[in-house]
């Protein structure tokens, strides 16, 4: 995929969003509206300039290429998905308990295959998090699942 095509898409989307933002900011009371409107207008102009620059690069055929290998996309998508699951689950299970599973399972799915190291890292990391946040810093994190069982 050519970088300029992606840049043109991103800039165009940005222009649409900044126009919507300007319309939204114009509804703020007067004294609170002028700076957001000014900044969003400037942003819109800059994004138009970026889009034009991308079109020029495409026309001149001087645009670079964004190269992604399948495995790279797979690993990135996997980490993003795992993080979404983690953020959804951690407040319910507790952070240390969630990390006990998150670190080894995500590491394995990403391609690290040494199970012993994975579980040891997960266990040490989860214990450290519990010690630092709950014991040392005394932060009121959600109760850990294993604590509820005791």
């Amino acid at each position: 995929m050519r970088q300029a095509s992606v840049e043109f898409g991103a800039a165009s989307l940005g222009v649409i969003l900044s126009v919507l933002g300007i319309l939204h900011a114009m509804n703020f009371p007067r004294e609170s509206a002028y700076l957001p409107t000014a900044v969003l207008s400037l942003l819109m102009l800059l994004l138009i300039a970026w889009a034009v620059k991308a079109i020029v690069s495409l026309r001149r055929d001087s645009a670079g290429v964004l190269q992604f290998r399948k495995a790279e996309i797979r690993r990135s998508a996997l980490l993003v998905t795992a993080t979404i699951v983690l953020i959804g689950v951690a407040p319910k299970l507790g952070f240390a308990t969630s990390f006990l599973f998150f670190v080894p399972i995500t590491g394995y799915l990403l391609g690290y295959l040494r199970w012993k190291v994975l579980f040891l890292t997960g266990a040490v990391f989860a214990s450290l998090i519990y010690l630092v946040f709950m014991v040392l810093l005394g932060r009121p994190l959600p109760t850990e699942f294993f604590m509820r069982l005791i």
Binding site: Q3, V6, E7, A10, G14, G21, H24, A25, F28, P29, E31, S32, L35, P36, V39, L40, L42, L43, L46, L47, A49, W50, K53, L66, A71, E72, I73, R75, S76, L78, L79, V80, A82, T83, I84, L86, I87, A90, P91, F95, F99, F102, V103, T106, G107, L110, G111, Y112, V117, L118, T121, F125, I129, V132, F133, L137, G138, R139, P140, L141
Partner: protein, 502 residues
């Protein structure tokens, strides 16, 4: 100044602050030794963890990470030819050939000593130069403060990016993020989308952690650059040749000065300081052919200059509130988290902690000598840690750190969204530092602009009423025009050359 230094000393040498400095320096070297991770990321990940610490303990830890990471970058640069941080690129030139000549340990010792010297000189420069600069800035009124904040923002946006438009887009995005929440002057809500959680604004911590911690984790997982265990270790062995330490003194003097000067200039950074310094060391040498083939002066010049850049880059950040690099922007974010408003007021309202932080930059530089020597073998092993294991650990640490600030899962989602957004921006070569800086400087600029207009009876003429203001307007115009002038000059020179060859 001396009273403030003396009052900061007991705070600095208290057990919690000392421990946090040791921990910060050690963590910093670990981070620097891991290719793909930077001091900026390390500080961004650890700021949420320091949230409930005493301000000086937290800042001491940040100082340690900053100094430690800059040296840590030399370890893979010397042994593997992979700079751990961008500032380690020039270290590769002579460090790796030294390692190939069986002088790996000597190269690491030179890198360590040079880092300590550069870091210490830089911290002294910070201690001596920032208070007088802040004293001048304290005399500024709202008009000058508005232009100063605008200048800082424009300078970073234009200078940090190859394409100034992209830097300015990043700054505008940051300004909008900084406007979210209740307007502090009129009390009106802006961009809150009727969400309770956004009415208090977006925490700088959530924003900078998202932007600086998530993208490196995703990149680590994506690229999965695996380093074969034990590769590079065979290059450690001593050759038996002794290092001529006295011969390195002129290099250290020259490189410290270069590092400090480059550090003060916004938008430059340790890599430029190291490159310039290496070049100068080669220019000054009698036998230039040794450079690039394992000259100890080459390693000393690069490492001394990139560490001399560290504290110096904080001079405009602390005294004027204008950070010259992404890492100093993150440190300013750290100051804000602990209730310290960046700018000249740091030297009056929070003097003991500010001076304590400056001294912590000096103390952690010296600590590096001991920690670097004792942990050399351990730090070398860190390089081999798999990025596939490191990526989920960074994500986990960031998640729990951000949650712990306000016990808010909304903040975590927001941080993750900013992270994905930042990752996308990085792919498109849009710099992230202007956005972070805009979140810090935006509210300062806005409040001073409104205050100035209030004083001037809503007449915009007040913005151009003082000489300092006019100088700053000129500086802003010049900064914006620099890339254009450069482009015109390049085109003109090209045409001239073409004509000559024809």
């Amino acid at each position: 100044m001396w009273e403030n230094i003396i009052s900061a000393l007991p705070l600095l040498f208290s057990v919690p602050v000392l421990l946090s400095m040791v921990a910060g320096t050690t963590i910093g070297v670990f981070i620097g030794a891991l290719p793909g991770l930077s001091a900026t990321m390390g500080i961004a990940v650890l700021i949420p963890l320091t949230f409930s610490m005493e301000p000086l303990a937290a800042l001491g830890m940040m100082a340690g990470i900053y100094n430690g990471a800059m040296y840590g970058g030399a370890i893979p640069a010397i042994l593997l030819r992979i700079p751990g941080t961008p500032a380690g690129i020039a270290t590769v030139f002579d460090g790796y050939p030294m390692a190939q000549n069986n002088q790996g340990l000597e190269a690491m010792n030179i890198a360590l000593t040079s880092s300590v010297i550069g870091g210490s000189v830089s911290a002294l420069a910070l201690l001596l130069l920032s208070p007088p600069l802040a004293a001048i800035a304290l005399k500024f009124g709202p008009v000058e403060l508005f232009w100063l904040a605008t200048f800082g923002l424009v300078a970073i946006s234009v200078l940090l990016s190859d394409v100034p438009v992209k830097g300015l887009i990043s700054a505008c995005l940051g300004l909008i993020v900084g406007m979210v929440g209740i307007d502090s002057i009129s009390g009106n809500e802006r961009f809150t989308l009727d969400t309770m959680e956004l009415s208090g604004g977006i925490s700088i911590l959530v924003f900078l952690t998202g932007l600086y911690a998530i993208p490196p984790a995703l990149t680590l997982a994506q690229e999965a650059m695996l380093i074969k265990k034990s590769s590079g270790k065979e290059k450690l062995g001593r050759s038996g040749r002794s290092i001529s330490w006295t011969g390195l003194v002129p290099t250290w003097c020259r490189s410290s000065v270069i590092g400090v000067i480059v550090g003060i200039i916004p938008g430059t950074g340790g890599n430029i300081a190291a490159m310039l310094s290496w070049n100068e060391a080669r220019r000054a040498a009698k036998d230039k052919s040794r450079f690039g083939k394992g000259a100890p002066e080459g390693v000393a010049a690069a490492e001394c200059a990139n560490n001399a850049d560290n504290a110096a880059s904080l001079i405009p950040a602390l005294a004027l509130g204008i950070p010259g690099s992404s890492v100093s922007a993150v440190i300013l974010g750290g100051l804000l988290v602990h209730g310290m408003l960046p700018g000249p007021a740091l030297f009056t309202e929070s003097a003991p902690v500010t001076y304590g932080f400056i001294l912590a930059m000096l103390v952690t530089s010296i600590m590096l000598l001991v920690i670097g020597r004792l942990g050399a073998r351990l730090f070398i092993n860190v390089m081999y840690m798999s990025p596939l294991l490191l990526a989920p650990i960074i994500i986990a640490l960031t998640t729990v750190g951000v949650f712990a600030i306000n016990n808010s899962i909304f903040d975590v989602w927001l941080m993750f969204l900013f992270g994905l957004f930042g990752w996308g921006l990085e792919r498109l070569n849009v710099p992230l530092a202007p956005a972070v800086l805009a979140v810090i400087l935006g509210p300062i600029a806005e409040s001073n602009l409104r205050r100035a207009l209030l004083i001037g009876g809503q007449d915009t003429g007040i913005l151009f009423s003082s000489t300092i203001a006019m100088i700053m307007v000129g500086a802003i115009a010049l900064t914006i025009l620099i890339p254009l002038i450069r482009k015109v000059l390049v085109t003109f020179t090209d045409r001239q050359q073409r004509r000559l060859t024809e």
